[in-house]
Subunit: 496 residues, 2 copies
């Protein structure tokens, strides 16, 4: 082992501990912490953030990273040093004081957002959002390379190699092909019945069936827990402690598919090898790759008729009153019904990427065009009307629906659409390699999961998403697979 690399270890261990503690506080904040805990706890989280900052930017760490460059390292060691070096670059640009202020702001911001959303009061969140944008732009400007635009700096954080140029093309393709396709469908006259998905679905029954399906797709409850929060999410302390949340309402499919979605994220993190977990490369490769896994499980697996054939009876058993007389074919049609709507997380598979497109366009305006925060609710509503033909009646179902901005996450949204496209490309390849639907019909999801573990999960951050796609499918990222998948699936469903 390189001497410099060895000397880095205690620093990395400390950074890891501070980071993990922060993750636990975030989890706790969104699932359990008492209302009044706010500012006292933010102080603690702020201190942990600045400790992380201090370790990573410690001058000895900076020196050791440079020295490592001269030594011979294993591929894993090199990747860790590369991640560390990028993290140093990211953090060193930001003055410690500002970094800490930002950490406190995001901790507090999530709480303020939740309150504002509850009260449907955008003004309550606006001043915080303004500050969050200011910090984000300032930090991006510190890090921007010559000529690099600020939003490109942010996009790069979530998905290496995808900038505004690429994304404009990507979303352009979707807009060109999917928007007219969607119009054709909504005007097809085909009506799909889905009234039975809404009703007095008891929370405890939804929880029970959620746990069943999480386990059925492969979530390991020895290495994870499931709880309730306003907005479903997945977080992980390490590969043996991965946590998902969901929330319950009268639409049984909401919690059901959010659980399968988050399980997809969770299995990615549970699939990180022991050698990589608790290191800088011990997490999913990118946000997009993560979404490729979650949306793969949610849609390509979870909304597939073949998936439901062996287990629909289980769902009927849990809800005999609501689903006893609904056939599996009717159920599968219902969970694939296309209906332009207001809430991204409840959107159908086809319109989903249009929700993301709206956010991408608005983020570009916020970061690149100085859009005034006050105008957000209206612009949001206008775009929904333009692309999806629906208009939110309040900010809770409009601009305040997502947690991301309150956490300072700008540039994250596009990865949702990219993830779906990655997933479709993987699916096209896998269908040639295995009897995909046949496996689902036999309830043998483990074969599919094993393929993903073997080709994606086990690499952690050792490869980029783009490289992995190429290594697996033998082809660079190609969004046409996504469009083809959607138009074929929904063309059939709405053939009338």
């Amino acid at each position: 082992m390189s001497r410099a690399y060895e000397e880095l270890q205690p620093y990395l261990e400390r950074a890891q501990a501070f980071q993990t503690a922060k993750v636990l506080f975030e989890w706790d904040n969104e699932t359990l912490a008492p209302k009044a805990a706010g500012s006292n706890t933010s102080k603690v989280v702020g201190t942990l953030s600045s400790e992380y900052f201090s370790v990573i930017t410690d001058e000895k760490v900076v020196r050791l990273v440079k020295e490592c460059g001269k030594d011979e390292l294993t591929p894993v060691e090199s990747a860790i040093v590369r991640e560390l070096s990028e993290e140093i670059e990211k953090l060193q640009c930001v003055p410690a004081k500002e970094y800490r202020e930002f950490a406190e702001l995001t901790s507090e911001g999530t709480r303020i957002w939740a309150d504002a959303r509850k009260e449907k009061n955008f003004e309550k969140f606006a001043p915080t959002l303004k500050k969050l944008i200011e910090y984000t732009k300032k930090f991006a400007s510190y890090r921007a390379k010559e000529g690099q635009r600020l939003y490109d700096v942010l996009l790069e954080d979530y998905e290496k190699g995808f900038d505004m140029e690429t994304l404009d093309k990507f979303f352009g393709t979707l807009r060109e092909q999917l928007v007219p396709f969607l119009k054709k469908i909504t005007e097809s006259g085909v009506e799909i019945r889905d009234d039975f998905l809404t009703g007095d679905y008891k929370e405890e029954d939804q929880e029970a069936i959620g746990r069943f399906f999480a386990e059925y797709v492969g979530f390991d409850f020895d290495k994870g827990v499931m709880a309730v929060s306003a907005h479903p999410f997945t977080t992980n302390l390490h590969n043996k402690d991965v946590r998902i949340t969901t929330s319950y309402n009268r639409h049984v499919d909401d919690s059901l598919f959010s659980v399968i979605h988050e399980s997809g994220h969770a299995m990615y993190e549970m699939g990180i090898p022991d050698e990589l977990t608790q290191t800088l490369v011990g997490q999913g490769a990118s946000m997009g790759m993560h979404e490729s896994q979650s949306r793969f499980f949610e849609n390509i697996i979870g909304r597939n008729e073949a998936f439901w054939l062996p287990v629909y009876g289980k769902l009927q058993e849990q809800f005999p009153k609501e689903l006893g007389k609904v056939t599996v074919q009717e159920f599968v049609k219902a969970i694939n019904k296309v209906e332009p709507s207001l809430i991204r997380t409840q959107a159908d598979e086809l319109t989903y990427s249009l929700h993301v497109m709206i956010r991408y366009e608005i983020e570009k305006m916020l970061i690149e065009e100085d859009l005034e925060v006050e105008k957000l609710p209206e612009i949001w509503a206008d775009k929904y009307e333009e692309y999806l033909g629906v208009r939110p009646k309040d900010v809770a179902e409009g601009v305040l629906q997502d947690i991301h901005w309150s956490q300072g996450a700008f540039g994250y949204f596009p990865s949702y659409a990219l993830g779906s496209a990655f997933g479709a490309q993987l699916y096209a390849y896998m269908k040639h390699k295995m009897d995909f639907e046949g496996l689902l019909e036999k309830g043998e999801i483990s074969t599919i999961r094993e393929f993903l573990r073997e080709n994606i999960h086990r690499y952690g951050k050792l490869k980029t998403s783009r490289q992995m796609l190429k290594d697996i499918t033998g082809e660079d990222f190609n969004p046409q697979y996504y469009v083809d998948y959607l138009t074929e699936k929904y063309g059939k469903l709405y053939a009338g």
Copy 2:
């Protein structure tokens, strides 16, 4: 403000953050964390512990504390410097490596203990317990002043000014007066009916009524949460995030009184002023003082007929089938029934201190007389038979019932009995100052709580328990109040 004191602040803030993060991990470990998380999470907790250690023993901190001695400080500042100085002394004696190993051992130990208890398998826990005792003794030997005995070093940690000499006398008094009194009662022939306390009390109903009574005695759910764990406990991140747990079984009084007990602890921490919270003096004065509050609420208030007169109807409403026909007098007799038993946390008020006495005697043997760990189950059983006339049939209801040793907490148990005695002394004084039972009958617990807040809670660690008792009652600690309280109360109940 003293310059040295000011320079200490960032160090204290960091120490506080590491400590608070550790508390959250402990809470999480006992309430939610997945089974397999164990060793990966222990690594994180170990790092946080050694970070705490590094900050407190940083040579600059040591120097600044000395410099503070020369400056003029406010009483709060002096108290913080005093606590810090004691903490430095405590930690400096221990080599950093050993401190860290011990932290990891206790984190892992709690998990091993829980498994061993579940499996009723003492051998599974014995090797860990042995190591815990070795570390504890080694650490105590580092810190012992000349001629000071090891167990006295440990006792001092939980209750300043109470050593083996004092405690031998204290427990001697109890043994002399309470053991014959208990004998008289058990042979009185008076039979109290309490069969209705056991039954199919639904968990969700127990939880609902637990939340009601927590709030009724003054637990503020805006500043706290309630969850489930194997062994009820209270923990706090700061004065606005205080957490209690309970567990549910077929005995409704178990969870009911554990909730009131933990609420007593919690209100102490919620009563710490904002100026003190998140500092080294921002917690209860001592373990004994803490127990005085929890046992005060549990027994002196919670098992008082006057307490139940206005709210017993509420309990009946929740459990009409089980308690609809039980009068409040029958209920109050039942919850005060004296019955020598095996589990400390379920013990009645009168026999409770005998459970503690057994642990005190055994800890003395473990620390001072090199009692072999292997012999524990039998010695435990023998002592229960000797003092209480009952013998555990397995280790789960014997030596493995308490979590304390798995956390490395030796010397803690005596504070439970001391707390009860402190409470009785406070009660005797308060009865002269206010119409105690009259207030309870009117449901005006706030007056009593306010007295405790004003005279105890608000001081945090600014005074010792002994000093506070003296300042309030005008008298030094006097265990006779405890014996008199018990013999009067239970003499009446068992008058026949």
